[in-house]
């Protein structure tokens, strides 16, 4: 048991180091996110002019939602995990894991966890630096129960994020080129995960439909709990149940694709 832990701890530490080496990439992405936040600010403050509330929330609450979204993205978002997995399958690097007592899912998840630990901590730097500028527009609710329900939601969102990327990466067993599929699912995720606009602004029936889709639990759900867009603890508990369900389904699909894919795998190169 301990040796199992040590094995993936080593992977985690290597992942940590390689992410610290490529911190320039992080800086570039962080910079873009800042510009994206300016777009959000300009668009929504124009939309709020003359409307004290949109969908029952004031400007501060909506802007806080978008700021939290960016932070959470850096903490749990799976950016290029699908691409990396796809590359490892295509150029045969995956073969080495077939010969060693290493579980590929656990290996990849350790790298993902270390990468998000680095980016999740680094994103706090620009947030702290710009805090004096932002603080007049931020309104965070202070209920303690939000932390108790939001943290498990955040952790399950991370597993769902990674799980979906893992499944898409494994598609490379069947398709030569998965980039198109990945970008298509990214578009779907950003819309139904609430990155374009808070999902609660959708017409009521659509909002309810979205709650049964996995995308809702990828990003919107934890962010909405933390920022006060979801406020009914019992409804959140139901949400956590659905989220756990989706998490298990996605993990099962990943396992299924891995087994089926390996049967097709011809181990070219290596």
């Amino acid at each position: 048991m301990l040796s199992l832990f040590n094995k993936y701890r080593a992977v985690f530490l290597v992942g940590l180091q390689s992410n610290l080496v490529y911190r320039m990439n992080f800086a570039v992405r962080g910079f873009f996110s800042f510009f994206h936040l300016i777009v959000v600010f300009i668009l929504w403050s124009a939309a709020y002019t003359g409307n004290p509330e949109i969908g029952g929330f004031n400007f501060g609450q909506t802007f806080t939602y978008f700021v939290a979204l960016i932070i959470v993205q850096f903490m749990i978002g799976a950016f290029n995990e699908d691409y990396q997995i796809s590359e490892e399958i295509r150029n045969g690097l995956i073969n080495q894991f077939l010969l060693k007592p290493v579980n590929y899912f656990a290996y990849r998840f350790s790298i993902y966890a270390s990468a998000r630990l680095v980016t999740g901590l680094l994103i706090l730097i620009p947030v702290i630096v710009t805090y004096p500028l932002l603080k007049d527009y931020l309104t965070l609710p202070s209920d303690w129960w939000r932390l108790a329900l939001g943290l498990p939601a955040l952790l399950m969102s991370a597993v769902i994020q990674f799980g979906i990327a893992y499944c898409f990466g494994l598609m490379s067993f069947w398709f030569l080129e998965i980039q198109g599929l990945v970008v298509l699912s990214m578009a779907l995720e950003s819309l139904l995960g609430g990155q374009i606009f808070p999902l609660d602004l959708l017409p009521d029936w659509l909002f309810r439909v979205s709650q049964f889709l996995p995308y809702y639990y990828q990003m919107y759900f934890p962010v909405a709990i933390f920022t006060g867009r979801l406020s009914d603890p019992s409804a959140i508990m139901v949400g956590l149940g659905i989220q756990a369900g989706w998490m298990l389904i996605i993990l099962a699909i990943g396992q299924f694709l891995w087994r089926r894919g390996l049967r097709l795998h011809t181990a070219v190169g290596g």
Binding site: M24, N25, V28, R29, F31, F32, F35, H36, I38, V39, I42, L43, S45, A46, A47, Y48, T49, G50, N51, I54, G55, E177, G180, L181, V183, L184, A187, L188, S190, L191, I196, F197, L201, L202, P203
Partner: protein, 264 residues
């Protein structure tokens, strides 16, 4: 003579791209779908915001649709004619494969940025155009031929500006070979082009409307369709298109001098 020479080169490249697309039809289909979906996401965002408000910075729903449609139209043309080539240019500069273009019979910037067409984006430009026409119809606009001609000219100027910004962003790869993802800076900047100019106030107005051309690129043609031909607006956009293009050529050539090929 030189024009014909370049046209011939371009047509050869275009023919090659179309043949390639016919070979990978599945790919074409998926990417066309991807772009169509992203455009729908933008349109949906406008619809959702206008579910809750009547006007954003003085623009009504269909005026905003017309603006977003115009912005998407310019972007589709940029993607269709240049994106793949420019995106690959960044990678080629890092990997050293850029040598290939130096040996070709023509201007390096032209050769490197016009090599591939993306028919999927060009197909989607029709969708973007339909969004513009549909919005104009909803607004009961009856633009004069002059306004339509001016709109077309402004769209072309917009493509020149977007092209310049994108090549400029990628040209930094000559200096910072380790920075990946600088291509993304273009997409971030292009987000601004879907906002109405009136929404920018104070410092944001100076930076994003006057210093960077992204906002005016889409606002100028949209305003021309909505309010008729404005000579000063046209002069302004053509002026900045020329200026940014000249700057890009300058930076690109400076970068080219630094290019030393790579060993790995």
């Amino acid at each position: 003579m030189t024009f014909l020479h370049y046209l011939r080169i371009w047509l050869t490249a275009a023919r090659y791209s179309i043949m390639r697309t016919l070979m990978f039809r599945g790919d074409f289909f998926v990417w066309a779908l991807v772009e169509l979906f992203w455009m729908t996401v933008n349109i949906l965002m406008v619809s959702v915001i206008y579910e809750h408000t009547k006007s954003v910075a003085g623009w009504s729903k269909y005026e905003m649709m017309l603006l977003v449609g115009t912005s998407l139209l310019i972007q589709r043309f940029l993607m269709g004619f240049f994106w793949s080539s420019i995106f690959e240019m960044g990678r080629n500069i890092r990997s050293g494969n850029f040598d290939f273009y130096l040996a070709q019979p023509g201007n390096v910037m032209f050769m490197a940025t016009t090599r591939k067409l993306d028919p999927d984006s060009l197909v989607n430009s029709l969708v973007a155009l339909s969004v513009v026409i549909y919005s104009a119809h909803q607004l009961n606009l009856q633009p004069s031929f002059l306004a339509i001609g001016c709109y077309a000219l402004l769209v072309v100027a917009g493509i020149v500006i977007h092209y310049s910004m994108l090549v400029l962003c990628i040209s930094f790869a000559f200096w910072f070979t380790s920075a990946q993802g600088i291509e993304g800076s273009y997409f971030t900047l292009s987000e601004f082009s879907r906002l109405p100019r009136e929404a920018f106030k104070g410092l944001a107005n100076i930076v994003f409307v006057w210093a960077l051309p992204m906002v005016i690129v889409s606002n100028a043609p949209a305003q021309t369709l909505l309010h008729g031909f404005q000579p000063s607006l046209l002069a302004w956009v053509v002026g900045i298109a020329t200026g940014w293009f000249a700057l890009t050529v300058f930076v690109f050539n400076r970068g080219l001098r630094r290019y030393s090929s790579a060993s790995s």
